[in-house]
Symmetry: D2
Subunit: 141 residues, 4 copies
């Protein structure tokens, strides 16, 4: 399955006193891409929390920071999900810079890659829950 | 001058334990709209910091919170600048909800209005600086 | 009533690419002080949400930014509440720098003052709710 | 070497709409502990950026999320550094809950463990730089 890609722009809110994006804030970009991947399949998390009553929760992650993003940079955040059992997904994610200041040397530059494991849980009890059918069918094992 | 409008989506990162957007995080949406208004005039803040060596800094603000935004809401953030002397701008800003969950009853709902005073300062000394000509010409007095 | 004061330290997470605290993040410091003022009266917001089932929500605010806070600065955040009717409080708040880098010239420097109006609402319906007795008694009208 | 421990309190700013701490925000707690570990050795990052002109930058990390932190929780964030070559440090970090709501069953509960690799870089060029002597001496290989 090819990767889902979602754009993000770097604003002041994302940067820190080193004039680069604060290390925790890249995780926000990663989540936006996962959320939009789900929305592109026709599902919002608000709806899923009501019916069938599930939430997604991050169980573990690893991140390699390769180059910093800076104010005004235009980013592409990718997300490639894979089934891991019947109750969780492994997302392979990357962030590339495709524009901004300083201007890119042509092709996109890889800034970060990450693996994020997400579990499906009951929205009330927070206990592990089988992934809904639309995800089991849509995602490679 | 009609208002400049920029979209924003509410993600998990924006919400707090009350299941609404955290009160400080609306200020991030407001700034994105001001930044994009400037970019729509052909200027990024990274470039302006290098040449002519200016930054914009918020001097004061007031906000009225009218209704909360929630996860997945689609927002419209508006921004209407006005000159205040030769070294600062007053922005009248609003945030409307135009979609999301729960579904809107048709027209956009006003969630927040704000006034934000922004001063132009020297990027090194942080002392007040005359607004660049392109802004003095573009904005109503 | 004398002001309640709560310390805060500036970390990387608080700063932005201008090497100062991001304008929205001062609102986090203000809220910590209000929360700790309440806790000093023996009440956590988690408990109040369960019994008697109330939340506090910011209705409006105004902020004057007088001087920037920087990485490593040691801040004092003050909070002086006043009753406004039976269902809301007006907090007068200030942030002073008392130390950090560059070293202070002796006395504390005022960085910011703010007024924050907070309404008491029902935790479920979010409708206005009379302030609990312990607050009506503890706060000046 | 025994672990350095730094307290953190969970505020509204840290939580998300799931009523738990947002997954990226635990990384802020982790950084505060690393910063305070350095400060306990007599060094602020502002000073080190000026003399000898170094910054610390996160190169990679991995996190296991074991249980969520909630509003009002009192946390203990630990940090155990180890040399990795002459230009980087590996921090083993943990977050425990020691109080808050719901009340803990006695001993501290492990919420999260992490490994964070931090490189020492030149403050201007961002190129790798040998760790300062006070760190090479203070930290186990």
């Amino acid at each position: 399955m090819s990767a889902f890609v979602w754009p993000a722009r770097v604003y002041w809110e994302d940067t820190d006193g080193g004039a680069v994006v604060y290390y925790a804030n890249y995780l926000r970009y990663l989540e936006r891409a996962r959320t939009e991947w789900l929305r592109a399949r026709g599902h919002s998390q608000q709806q899923l929390a009501r019916d069938p009553g599930i939430l997604f929760t991050v169980v573990s992650l690893s991140v390699n920071y390769r180059a910093p993003a800076r104010l005004d940079d235009q980013l592409q955040v990718s997300c490639r999900p894979r089934l891991r059992g019947a109750a969780s997904l492994d997302f392979v994610q990357q962030i590339h810079r495709v524009g901004g200041a300083p201007p890119p040397g042509g092709s996109a530059q890889l800034l970060l890659d990450a693996q994020v494991r997400v579990a499906c849980v009951d929205a009330t009890s927070l206990r592990p829950q089988r992934l809904p059918a639309f995800l089991l069918e849509a995602v490679d094992g």
